[in-house]
């Protein structure tokens, strides 16, 4: 899955720690999401979207491999 979490976070001048604290996860989780090592759950994706005041679809996008 492709995501634009890092770009959006940097646009809002937030650190990984800031974002992690806001949504109640570890900084390692934010790092893993941004480096595409981990696809967040629906709940976590929604929390990130709400924190960024945007839609989930603007942050996450399915790739071709996700359909395999």
């Amino acid at each position: 899955m492709n995501n634009y979490v890092k770009q959006k976070r940097l646009d809002l001048e937030m650190t990984q720690s800031d974002l992690a604290k806001k949504i109640g996860v570890s900084r390692q989780t934010i790092y893993a999401i941004e480096t595409k090592k981990y696809d967040p759950s629906v709940t976590l994706a929604l929390k990130i979207a709400v924190t960024f005041s945007t839609n989930v679809e603007d942050l996450f996008a399915l790739e071709k491999v996700d359909w395999d």
Binding site: S26, Q28, Y31, A32, Y38
Partner: protein, 182 residues
Amino acid sequence: MTACKGNFTFHHVNFALHLMPNFTYIVMKYLLLPKHFRTAGWFLLIPGLLAGFSNYIFNTEPEFLNVTMFAIANAGFYQTTYFTLIETNIWQELISLMIIMGGIFIGFSRTDIEDEYIQKIRLEALTWAVYVNYLILILAIIFLYGFTFTDVLVFNMFTILLIFVARFEWVLVNLNRETDNE
């Protein structure tokens, strides 16, 4: 409504969980021990492993641990007795309990921030440990015989837990290192 009568829905369970004290809620939500158990776990596991290796090599038992224990079953060379009191040295039993409890405390205690990604890492480490442990056991079954295999059976009591803890901690350390470099 009639069809739902008597059925527990997710909302019933979730509501009940929120009524419980925080400790129990956390344990039941994550099936994990509180995080201070991790420290206690290391204080059990490391001495337990050292004592275990020492016992394996030197085969000595402290005399003050000769005690009377209640045995549900005690199989000797000639007979097996049930529900009896026996005289035995409990050094090996203590070592085993230290290793097992230490491993469980370390592997199944909450981390500083317990979230879904850490839970995924924990589950993957547990899966990996099962595969590796039984691969080793399969090879041991095929290639080791006699009393050597008896040693394998003894070690096998602990290896799945130890492999899990080692793998879990290794992944966490690497993850922390990568995150710090970011």
